[in-house]
């Protein structure tokens, strides 16, 4: 399948590589089919490209790579639609945002992907987590150790 994207030009996506989000994403409810693309220059970064809207893409990263003490707790009811019993069966990524000056990570609403079934869902994690966790070079741990 060939997609015309605003960011990456014309790209080819295998039908088998498409990830379905049955409820879309909050704010992007009409975007139900996505492709996960590798960033051409940065191996820590991926792009979720909407298949049906070439102008919609979200930068995503593996959260542990940036926030080593991030422990995601997701209510089981949020995972049931994905047919995932255990979060370790899933790929978890978080969306990169910006404050205008600094890059941020949305730790509160990670995206969970069942790679085998190729379905995904943005879930709301339990606990006090930031929607705009700022990436800085000198970051204090999330929790101070005793």
């Amino acid at each position: 399948m060939r997609i015309n994207t605003s960011r990456f030009g014309r790209i080819d996506v295998d039908a088998g590589d498409i990830i379905r989000f049955p409820s879309g994403l909050p704010g992007l409810e009409d975007c139900r089919e996505w492709a996960l693309l590798a960033d051409s220059t940065n191996d820590a970064l991926g792009w979720l490209q909407c298949v049906t809207r070439g102008d919609v893409a979200l930068a995503v990263v593996s959260p542990r790579r940036f926030v080593p003490d991030y422990q995601v707790r997701i209510p089981r009811s949020e995972l049931t639609p994905l047919a995932i019993n255990d979060i370790r069966q899933a790929q978890v990524v978080v969306v990169v945002g910006t404050t205008g000056t600094d890059l941020t990570l949305n730790l509160k609403a990670p995206i969970v992907i069942n790679l085998e079934a190729r379905t995904g869902r943005q879930v709301i994690a339990s606990g006090e987590l930031s929607l705009q966790y700022e990436l800085t070079s000198n970051r204090q741990p999330l929790r101070k150790s005793a």
């Binding site: 940065n42 820590a44 970064l45 593996s62 959260p63 945002g97 910006t98 070079s137």
Partner: protein, 85 residues
């Protein structure tokens, strides 16, 4: 908007498979119990709206904006065992 009066432990049904129960009332706070099929997402409205706004803002990022994100990344797979010590 449909407005219904309910007391503690009473419920309303939405469709034939969503039940909302008044679990507790204390002062100006009401605790609700919600029984809904797994495929029906249930969220606090202000949290859901904040995520909507954040996604729409994030969808404006361009590859040039994320060019230096690598300098915030740890090496390895990101598992705690691989984190730099």
């Amino acid at each position: 908007m449909l407005v219904l009066s309910r007391q503690r432990d009473e419920s309303i049904m939405i469709g034939d498979n969503i039940v909302v129960t008044i679990v507790d009332i204390r002062g100006d706070k009401v605790r609700l119990g919600i029984n809904a099929p797994a495929e029906v997402p249930v969220h606090r409205q202000e949290v859901y709206e904040a995520i909507q706004r954040e996604n729409l803002r994030a969808a404006r990022l361009e590859p040039g904006d994320t060019a230096d994100i690598g300098r915030f990344a740890n090496r390895g797979s990101g598992r705690p065992d691989d984190a730099p010590r």
